[in-house]
């Protein structure tokens, strides 16, 4: 490797100073990206080039959002050596409440399609979801009931409560502005906004890398070689810009585009108009949630405590950490994220049904585990879990595309979950 000389001494622990260690890249994460690439390319070949199209990738991103958001919270839950089996049911009950609130309760005061309806119901969703989570967290942390039992009970209780809200009736349609949370045409942000967001993201990546480098240098710590930081910046920005380009390469359907053109007084040309979707609102929300959760997990005291509790609960207690309060907050956060996901799935379906989120707990837990979260506690990353969610969703939608029967889909997803955890275990044992 004819790399430029590192600015400081190489880390003494690694013998050869290989490319990966210079870049300080998580090898496990790289493995997951490779697995994702294999899945994507495999499905693309099998489906005759239908999988890797802007349209399919755009749909895939929207389908992943809800589970990915909940998976970020599940990481923290599992890191503390707990589990939450109730997330799907919480999503269900919050979804019902959100639906009834915007179709029956709020219109009684505000009228239909009031601009305040969407913000108010989202607030309500966060409030209800967070409260349910905090309540379950209180049972677990302060009453000492095992999380498995509390949330297993919660699974039944909240699913039952979801039915109770309307005695099983489906509520539809949703408020026009609220529907944006589900993606679709209403929730597509358009080309300009997408490029602006991508540019801002690239700027933040570069500034963030620079700041962290400067901070380490100011303390005289070893830093990555300059070229390595540059490579990371280029790859990260490249990924952001390609994602934006893909989202912008998927045009609105002809009918919708024509309506839009008419509404904006633009003449309809002969060959039709190419109006890009741009990134979908739920995907943007998922990415922001991922960033916020990563920030909480790695940069905040609370996150440090969560990992300490998972690594050694007794040590955390002896360090003076209020472990019970921290645990209660973890479950509160989980409930809050279920509230966000409830908005997204309800909006996407354009209806609130008491079956929404059924089996989501399994997908959410599987995403976190495929993403490298250890059920023994103490280990896991937010980004890994979101990637895990994307892997699961890719498998599923790829099989739908190929016309695989639902039972076989479940068999494959289940087998992949077990396989992924086995491979992860092998990897962990090898690096020890």
């Amino acid at each position: 490797m004819n790399a430029p000389v590192a600015t400081t001494a190489p880390p003494p622990s690694t013998a050869s100073g290989s490319l990966l260690s210079k870049l300080e890249i998580d090898v496990r994460m790289l493995g997951m990206l490779a697995a994702l690439a294999v899945i994507w390319i495999g499905f693309d070949l099998l489906s005759g080039g239908v999988f890797l199209t802007p349209r399919n990738l755009w749909n895939l991103s929207v389908q992943t959002a809800s589970v990915a958001i909940m998976a970020t919270g599940m990481v923290l839950v599992i890191v503390t050596r707990n589990i939450d089996l109730s997330v799907g049911a919480i999503l269900g009950v919050v979804g019902m409440i959100v639906g009834v609130a915007q179709v029956q309760w709020l219109p009684a005061y505000l009228g239909l399609e009031h601009p305040l309806t969407a913000p108010l119901v989202v607030l309500l969703a966060l409030l209800v979801g967070g409260s349910i989570g905090l309540f379950q967290g209180w049972l677990i942390a302060y009453l000492g009931i095992p999380s498995f039992i509390v949330t297993l009970g919660g699974l039944l209780v909240w699913r039952g409560a979801a039915w109770w809200v309307t005695a099983g009736q489906t509520v539809a349609p949703m408020d026009g502005r609220f529907k944006a949370f589900g993606g679709g045409v209403e929730g597509a942000l358009g080309a300009t906004a997408t490029w602006i967001i991508a540019a801002v993201a690239c700027g933040l990546i570069v500034v963030g890398l620079g700041l962290s480098r400067r901070r380490r240098l100011s303390f005289g710590f070893p830093v990555r070689p300059g070229w390595a930081d540059a490579v990371i910046a280029i790859v990260a920005c490249g990924a952001v810009l390609s994602a934006a380009a893909i989202a912008n390469a998927y045009p609105l359907p002809v009918g919708t585009a024509r309506n839009w053109a008419e509404a904006n007084g633009i003449p309809w040309p002969e060959g039709g108009l190419f109006i890009p979707h741009g990134v979908a609102l739920p995907v943007l929300i998922a990415v922001m949630v991922g960033l916020a959760m990563t920030f909480i997990a790695t940069r905040r005291r609370f996150g440090r405590y969560v990992f300490a509790i998972g690594g050694n609960p007794e040590a955390a207690e002896l360090s003076g950490i209020n472990t019970r309060w921290a645990l209660m907050k973890v479950f509160g956060l989980m409930g809050l994220l279920c509230g966000i996901s409830a908005c997204i799935s309800t909006a996407r379906l354009n209806a609130a049904t008491n079956a929404a989120g059924t089996l989501d707990e399994l997908y959410v837990i599987a995403s976190a585990v495929i993403g490298g979260t250890s059920l023994a506690g103490g280990i896991g990353t937010i980004a890994g879990a979101m990637l895990g969610a994307l892997v699961m969703q890719s498998l599923q939608s790829g099989m739908v595309l190929l016309g695989v029967d639902t039972p076989l889909q479940n068999i494959v997803v289940g087998a992949v979950l077990v396989l992924a955890v086995w491979v992860d275990g092998l990897y962990r044992r090898r690096i020890k």
């Binding site: 622990s13 100011s218 303390f219 360090s319």
Partner: protein
């Protein structure tokens, strides 16, 4: 030595605690003066660690009082103990294995940036300083402590205890898992901290360890205090007799746990 007039740094008076009807610690009183090393001896299960966990805030006693610098101290959580400058190096080390050295040393007392985020760089810098003093060869600042050797983990646990200007240091079996060279390092550290005026409770079941370092010893048996003595006033065999038989020699001040029935001639071993 006992009655030299200085206020004890720490005094535990008539401490009792029971777990499920079993008195793990029964009416025990011990004290510690500045710059003094007190060895706390006894068999496994004698109640040493339990007594010390009361002082470090991990357990709340059923009865008894704790005085710090002559004033009544209310210690019910580990945080309280730390506020009084009482730091503990636990036998298990109590490290979070998945977190790096700096994260462990500052656990519960993190350095924050003005924005309320963890100031990892500052914590790492401080860690490098304190580790340079304890273990100059330590380099693995970025790795979780799980990856460290026994001696390195021990240094991290010690660093955590002494970094925050401890006035009272509790060392629970500090050398149990260490080799001879590392044991010597710990002994040097104890003497150095003693010179700085820190009071140290040294808990061990190995009396050779303790005799070399301690000024006084207190012996516990079945949750009770057998007695306390200056190391000059008793022989190792006599202390062994205290540990094994609960027999208090003439050079020691007997506690409630001393064997009052005077047997004719009893020898300990040999």
């Amino acid at each position: 030595m006992q009655a030299n007039g200085t206020t004890p740094l720490v005094e535990m008076r008539n401490i009792s605690i029971a777990f499920g009807g079993i008195k793990a610690v029964d009416d025990v009183s011990i004290d510690l003066r500045p710059g003094e090393v007190v060895g706390l001896l006894g068999h496994n299960g004698a109640g040493k660690s339990t007594l010390i966990k009361i002082l470090s805030g991990a357990y709340k006693p059923d009865a008894g009082e704790i005085y710090v610098n002559g004033e009544r101290a209310d210690i019910s959580t580990p945080r309280d103990a730390k506020r009084y400058g009482i730091e503990t190096i636990y036998q298990t080390l109590a490290l979070a294995d998945n977190i790096d050295a700096a994260g462990n040393i500052f656990l519960g007392r993190e350095v924050l940036t003005p924005y309320g985020t963890l100031d990892d760089a500052a914590m790492e810098a401080e860690t490098r300083k304190v580790m340079a003093r304890l273990n100059p060869h330590f380099r693995r600042f970025k790795e979780p402590v799980k990856a460290l050797s026994g001696g390195q983990r021990q240094s991290v646990a010690i660093a955590r205890a002494i970094y925050f200007n401890a006035r009272v240091l509790i060392m629970d079996e500090p050398t149990a898992a260490l080799g001879p060279a590392e044991t010597q390092q710990v002994a040097d550290l104890v003497l150095q901290l003693k010179k700085e005026g820190i009071g140290i409770f040294l808990i061990s079941h190995d009396i050779h360890d303790v005799f070399g370092l301690a000024d006084r010893v207190s012996v516990m048996k079945n949750g009770k205090l057998v007695g306390s003595a200056s190391v000059q006033d008793v022989t190792q065999d006599e202390v062994l007799g205290m540990i094994i038989l609960g027999k208090c020699p003439p050079g020691a001040t007997p506690g409630p746990g001393a064997d009052r029935t005077s047997h004719p001639e009893e020898r300990s071993g040999s």
